[in-house]
Amino acid sequence: MMLFTLILLPLVGGVIACWSQRVHQDAPKWIASLCLLLSLAFLISIKLFTSMDPSNLWLVDETLAWIPRLNISAHFAMDGLSFVLILLTLLMGLVGLSSAWNEISQHSGFFYGNFLWTLAGIIGVFLAMDLLLFFVFWEVMLVPMYFLIAIWGNENRRYAALKFFLFTQAGGLLMLLSIVALAVLHYQQTQILSFDYQVLVQSPIDSEFAKWICLGFIIAFIVKLPAFPFHSWLPDTHTQAPTPASIILAAVLLKTGGYGLLRFVLPLFPDASQFWSPLMMGLAGISIIYGAMMAFSQTDLKRLVAYSSVSHMGFVLLGCFSLNFYALQGAVMQMLAHGVSTAALFMLVGLIQHKFHTRDLNQLGGLWSTLPKLSAMGLFFGMASLGMPGLGNFIAELLVLIGTFKQAPMFALVATSGLILAAVYSLRMIQKSFFGVSVNADENRENKTGHTSKQIITDLNAKEKITLMLMCLSLIFMGLHPQPIFNLVNGSLIEIASLFQASFQPEILLIEVQL
């Protein structure tokens, strides 16, 4: 019952937070942070106390009966990959919380409730082993996020929330059809009706439908991990979402797409993913270039960062579909590093918007003179997003490129040109917002806003400084000492990679996991 309680904790925490607003105005904040810390401690304790027998891949594996009629069970299991991603979820939850501390004022109880429910949904996605359970969590995590964006968003939040929900829902429906088709064909092949991942993975279906079912899954995950043709919801959602929601969205919600690819598409359809891999690598290349070029031309800061994450997630897609051990490690690393760096960038942009009430690059400038600490952080995370060695993003992109060069040099070439474009747009962002002289000097900004008292713009307060510093340290840790993460994720990735590379023989199969 351990994993079920891991999901239950944020759920119940959310209910209490939502209810506690009546008791005291900022009670929800404390309850939410307490609940997150509790679940973080619980997660770490699960990891430490579970008996680490290297033979069995799954750290924890629990099943509860759910719909016996169709042999669907609530089957939760956690392995290295999902452990790392849940850790990222909870940490980014804390970061989102710290950025929401003084920004959210109206209906705060309901806000923190939704916030925690989204996290519970995401944790559910990472833990679900039964395909239908995965689909249920996949859709359920959208509803609270929809509420977050629709109520506390910026000026055009309605359109963005609706667009966000419709895009993912359309993809989700395709996935529902593919799940059912997979289960039915599996039944036809092996006379066992089951939606369970571990049962389905033993006997991959080999009918000619396999290609289309695999495509159904891939489209659902590509819409979520915004790849080229389906990315147009991300910029709108990010510009209109409140900062904590866009932190969670950028840091973790996009990773569910990547996780889905790694967990469900590659192992369940080995030959179909081989069939689709050139097309998908092409899409990845296009989305890297397209995201970078779009980021270059944006004037709205949040849209710029959103397009940059489209380009970064292109690397994840490239990593997943080059079906090579290095590339898979690189893809997982990119998910983590991108999560941290983009969340930090969104937090900074949120702060800038909170202080200057504008996100337009043309009106921003010369922040270094007024807010030195914030600009230093902005510079650091800008450098992280363009893949500066010594930080997590570089290791990820390096591994993805190493993997892809071996498989398909042409796509890798396109991806490396993406590196250059990444430098172009992040430098433009840094230069336009931090360097130069502030375009609207203080006096004319004052008469624009009309109020007499000169609004003193304070730099980062203690809490923000600590969160950002921790994120810098984690990026540097990921950059200079990524080995623990690789060891954690090694087990499941070897299994996936061995499906594709006949020649791939990992000489260190049973790796002792040490954190």
Partner: protein, 619 residues
């Protein structure tokens, strides 16, 4: 001894972090910054002394394990051998001197602490680059150096043009670095390891096997590695960032754009010399690029009027010489020239800095006439610097450049040799021109305050080094006892080929003196009339460094900007908007049927019945 080696790069890194987080007062920052660099310089000198006697030595120290997946295993291990020892000594000594100099040069700048933090970070990144034992750690140092040069060029971030120059520098070097990264990855697949020494060993074995197996992949790797080197050391295709990089403070130009960063490219090629031997056509290509760059640098330096831009173009041309030496296979000549160049170019930059400091930030040479009497020390240091640059006999520049020209001859490359000689002629011409214009002629702007003592000490040391630096460090020869050097002992230089490089500088200096007296060196006023004479057009062409900037703007920047501006609203997004309008259009059409008329509703019932029966009849 290994602890000393480990400490050398870590000391500046530690002091950089200290300065970033603690941001102490002015005096304390100066002490920490200059102290840490001079400490590592001291350690380097100690290492030099200890290892002076051994001819071939290898020192390795591992600072920790970085990454090990499958058969890609990288560690933070530092590797010292004669070549990297020389580089370390150059970097730390010149770095220490420049730190001392900039302590006084930058003392009245508001955020001096940030300046020193970046400078220390730069030196530690450079040290990591030079001491790296695997290519990815080298790449880490490589990008770190690029980052610090970006930060330092854009140090005075208030002016827009500074940060634009910084962006330009970073992006152009980034293009080179990405090419290099591709080269490294291809190397990984070719040699299955990224450790530099193993690559050299495997390439040596391949060389002995004399039937070169997959040559075109290896030559592709070498070409890509050279592209990275070209990006960092400002060679022909990617050199237009160096002149703009002068927007940074002068000590930065001295340290980064003269002594250390630009030499990283040469170090990379020298370090992987055995690999490059496998691809002779790439070496030949490098030599050609070297010659083209040195001619470009020399000619454009002639047409400049800004003091620092002249020195920048001269650095480009001197680097061209080094790559020429590498191209013809003699890495020792290249590294020797690198060392001497580091000394006299640092001297030139620092004295230029002092000069600008005295002429309160006036950089146009035509406005500083006749400073011989008011600034005797600067005149003397500039004289030595220009002499070494023009490679007048008995200066350190002379020995190294003459060695390079000799090596090119030995490698049967007469054409390249003539290129080098022409380059030498132009170098001598512009250095003499620079010297005469600034220090002779009539005094039109009095120099107010004189140079502080710290600067004077540094200039004195550098003057000494650039004079006496000519003696060739013994270790250099043994390291590169590669066969290419002594390939053709029998071939003796003809008399003419021997004496020309020696006499040429003297002849050009006197020629320059006469031209100065006749007044040829007047600034060419931009002509108002439409008929732009050939002279003006040539001058404009040379002034902008063979017009690479306009070329790149035309080919890359304009179309890129056009496409991104056109697509700002994301065509894909508009496609989805069309979907939205289409469905609402459909809604309006269907809603027109809801008329509320009872008769229309019953009519719909009947029509459906008729259609259904008709459908049945048709089947």
């Amino acid at each position: 001894m290994t602890i000393l080696l480990g400490l050398i790069p870590l000391l500046p890194l530690f002091s950089a972090c200290l300065l970033i987080f603690w941001q102490p007062k002015l005096l304390l920052t100066q002490i920490i910054a200059v102290g840490s660099i001079s400490l590592s310089a001291l350690l380097a000198l100690i290492l030099n002394v200890q290892l002076w006697d051994q001819a071939q030595f290898v020192l390795q120290v591992s600072l920790g394990q970085w990454l090990s997946i499958d058969n890609l295993s990288l560690g933070f291990t530092l590797y010292l051998d004669p070549l990297s020892l020389i580089m370390v000594t150059i970097i730390t000594c010149v770095g220490a001197l420049i730190h001392l100099y900039s302590a006084s040069y930058m003392k009245d700048d508001p955020d001096v602490c940030r300046f020193f933090a970046y400078l220390n970070l730069f030196v530690s990144a450079m040290l990591f680059l030079v001491l790296a034992d695997n290519l990815i750690l080298l790449y880490l140092g490589w990008e770190g150096v690029g980052l610090c040069s970006y930060l330092l060029i854009g140090f005075w971030y208030r002016e827009q043009k500074n940060s634009q120059a910084a962006n330009k520098a970073f992006i152009i070097t980034r293009i080179g670095d990405t090419a290099m990264l591709i080269g490294i990855i291809l190397l990984f697949y070719q040699f299955d390891t990224l450790n530099i020494q193993q690559i050299q060993l495997q390439s040596q074995q391949l060389l002995q096997m004399d039937e070169l197996p997959t040559t075109e992949i290896i030559s592709l790797c070498c070409l890509l590695l050279f592209a990275g080197a070209a990006g960092k050391s400002a060679q022909v295709p990617l050199q237009s960032w160096l002149p703009d990089a002068m927007a940074g403070p002068t000590p930065v130009s001295a340290l980064i754009h003269a002594a250390t960063m630009v030499t990283a490219g040469i170090y990379l090629v020298a370090r992987n010399m055995d690999l490059f031997q496998l691809a002779p056509d790439v070496l030949h290509f490098i030599a050609i690029i070297g010659v083209v760059t040195l001619i470009l640098g020399a000619t454009s330096a002639l047409a400049q009027s800004d003091l620092k831009r002249i020195l920048a173009y001269s650095t480009i041309s001197q680097l061209g010489y080094m790559f020429l030496a590498l191209g013809v296979g003699s890495a020792s000549a290249a590294v020797f020239h690198l060392m001497t160049h580091a000394f006299f170019k640092a001297l030139l930059f620092l004295s230029a800095g002092a000069l600008i400091y005295c002429m309160h930030h006036e950089q146009n040479i035509f406005k500083m006439g006749g400073l011989r009497k008011s600034q005797p020390l600067l005149a003397f240091s500039f004289g030595i610097g220009c002499a070494a640059l023009a490679s007048l006999p008995m200066t350190s520049g002379f020995f190294s450049k003459e060695l390079i020209l000799e090596q090119t001859l030995l490698a049967h490359q007469p054409l390249l040799w003539w290129g080098g000689v022409i380059g030498a002629f132009f170098t001598a011409l512009y250095s003499a021109k620079l010297f005469f214009i600034v220090f002779f002629g009539k005094l039109n702007q009095p120099s107010t305050h004189n140079t502080p003592t710290a600067m004077v000490i540094v200039l004195m040391i550098l003057m000494l080094l650039s004079l006496v630096g000519g003696v060739q460090p013994q270790g250099l020869f043994t390291h590169f006892s590669a066969p290419a050097d002594s390939a053709s002992p029998g071939h003796t230089l003809s008399l003419f080929q021997h004496w020309l490089p020696i006499l040429l500088p003297i002849f050009t200096v006197t020629l320059a003196w006469f031209m100065f007296i006749k007044g040829y060196f007047t600034p060419t006023t931009p002509s108002e009339g439409s008929s732009v004479s050939l002279k003006q057009k040539l001058h404009q062409f040379l002034l902008s460094g063979w017009d690479f900037d306009r070329l790149y703007r035309l080919i890359f920047i304009k179309p890129f900007k056009l496409v991104t501006e056109y697509n700002r609203r994301d065509i894909i997004d508009l496609a989805y908007r069309q979907l939205e309008t289409f469905s609402s259009l459909l809604y309006r059409q269907l809603n027109r049927f809801q008329t509320g008329q009872l008769r229309h509703y019953s009519a719909s019932l009947v029509i459906f019945c008729v259609l259904a029966i008709a459908w049945g009849l048709i089947q």
